[in-house]
Amino acid sequence: MTTYRIALHRDEKPKPRKRRINGVEFVVATPPSYLPDGLAYEYDEEDGILRILFQYLGNAEKAVRQEGGEKVSFLVGENSQKLLAVEIQVDHKGEELSSVRIVVTDQVPKALQRVRAGSQVVKDNYGIAGKALREHGAEIASTVCQ
C-alpha cells in the first residue's frame, strides 16, 4: 500500500475576519491547531477503502468515527472534533475514475458541510478539508483508479 502526500498552501486556508464579541470588534482567525499541514492518501486494496488523512503537526489525538453518508465515513478528533481522516469505500480498484472523483470532490465536501460542527473553528476546519478535497480530488481519484 503506497501513501501519497500533498502539502496544503496558505491560500487554501481561511483568511482572518472581523467579528464583534460582546460589542467589541476583534480580528478572528482559525487557530493553527485546526489548520492541516497537508493530506496523505492511500488505497487499501484488501478492504477496498480509499483513506484520506489530514495531517497536523504533532497530533496524537484519538479518532472517533462518524458516518458521512453512503460509503463515506469520517474520523474526527475525540476532543477537538477536527477532521483527521475520510474513508471512502471503493468497491474495486477498477471502479470508474469519474465516479471516485465525484465522491471525493463533490459528495465528501457536501457531506462535511452537513456534519454538525459544534463551533466555528470546527466548521472552518471542515471547510478547509472540503476545499482541499475539491482542489486535489482529481489527483487522488486518478491514483486510485490507475
Binding site: 478572528v28 482567525a29 482559525t30 489548520l35 504533532g58 473553528v121
Partner: protein
C-alpha cells in the same frame, strides 16, 4: 531533556490508584499507632470496645505487617512524587519556540529581549482546573483559571503574576483577552486600544480588554491571543501577544507558515491538558 516529564508521566488512573493506596496506608499507620499508644486499664469481659481493639492490634498484628505497610506508604509516596514531576515552562524548547515566534512576528532578535524592553511581549498561559473546594464554598464558580507560565521578555526579573479566570461552559464568565481566546477557542486580536497616556478612556479600555478598570504601569495598545492544544487535542491554554505599538499585531502574519509551525511545535510538546 524537553521530554523528561513524559518519561515520568503516569496515567491518571494509575496515579489515582497510588494516591489512594498511599492515603490508605497512612491512615492505617495512624490508627495503628493511636491504638497501641492508648492505655488499657481493663482486660477480659470488663474491657471496653476501644480497649479490646488496642489489645487485638497489640497482640495479633505482626510486626512484619506494620513494616510492610510502612514500606508501601514510602514507595507509593515516592512514585507519586516522582511521577508528579511538573512540566517546567522554562525548558529550553519553550524558550526557543517563544523567541523564534517573537522574531517571526516582530523581527526582533533575542539579543534585544532584555528586561527593559516592553514593546512586544509573548506570554504563555496554562489553563488549570480550579479546586472543587473553592468552587463549592466560594462565590467564584469559574471552572478554570489561566496561569502565566512563561513570558518573553521576562519583564522585571520575575514571572508575570496576573491570572485570568475562565469557564469551560460559560464563555461570558471569562476575563481578559486570554479568557476570551480560551472561551472562543479561536485566535483573536483587538483593534487598537485607547492610548491612556494621552487621555484615553479607562472605561473603554477595560471593556475592550474584557477586564475591570485597574492601575497598570504599562497599558498595551493591542492584545491578541492564540489558543493552544496539547497533542491529544485537549485545550491547554493560550499564547497571548501584546504590544505598546497599536499596529504591532497583525493576524494576517499568524497565517504565515513559519509562525504556525512554531505554534504547532510548541503545542505538540505541551503536557496533557487536564480538563
Amino acid at each position: 531533556m524537553s521530554h523528561l516529564w513524559r518519561e515520568h508521566e503516569l496515567s491518571r488512573n494509575w496515579k489515582r490508584f497510588l494516591v489512594i493506596v498511599n492515603v490508605a496506608t497512612a491512615l492505617a499507620l495512624t490508627l495503628y499507632s493511636t491504638a497501641i499508644s492508648l492505655p488499657v486499664n481493663n482486660l477480659g469481659t470488663q474491657a471496653t470496645l476501644r480497649e479490646k481493639i488496642t489489645v487485638f492490634v497489640d497482640e495479633k498484628v505482626p510486626f512484619w505487617v506494620v513494616i510492610s505497610v510502612v514500606g508501601v506508604f514510602v514507595v507509593t509516596g515516592i512514585i507519586v512524587r516522582v511521577a508528579d514531576h511538573r512540566w517546567n515552562p522554562q525548558t529550553p524548547y519553550v524558550r526557543a519556540a517563544l523567541e523564534a515566534l517573537q522574531i517571526d512576528l516582530w523581527s526582533q532578535p533575542p539579543a534585544t529581549l532584555d528586561g527593559s524592553d516592553h514593546r512586544h511581549r509573548i506570554t504563555l498561559f496554562q489553563a488549570q482546573r480550579r479546586n472543587w473546594f473553592v468552587k463549592r464554598f466560594t462565590e467564584d464558580k469559574h471552572s478554570h483559571r489561566l496561569v502565566p507560565r512563561a513570558r518573553l521578555p521576562r519583564g522585571l526579573g520575575r514571572d508575570p503574576q496576573k491570572i485570568w479566570l475562565c469557564d469551560h461552559h460559560h464563555g461570558n464568565l471569562c476575563t481578559g483577552i486570554a479568557g476570551q481566546v480560551y472561551a472562543s477557542n479561536t485566535s483573536l486580536a483587538t483593534s487598537p486600544l485607547p492610548d491612556l497616556a494621552n487621555g484615553g478612556s479607562k472605561k473603554k479600555y477595560a471593556k475592550m480588554t474584557n477586564d475591570m478598570e485597574r492601575e497598570e504601569t504599562i497599558y498595551s495598545r493591542v492584545i491578541g491571543g492564540i489558543p493552544l492544544m496539547s497533542s491529544s487535542g485537549g485545550r491547554w491554554g493560550v499564547l497571548v501577544l501584546d504590544s505598546c505599538d497599536p499596529h504591532a499585531i497583525d493576524p494576517n502574519k499568524w497565517e504565515e507558515t513559519s509562525v504556525q509551525e512554531k505554534v504547532k511545535i510548541l503545542s505538540s510538546n505541551l503536557p496533557e491538558a487536564k480538563s
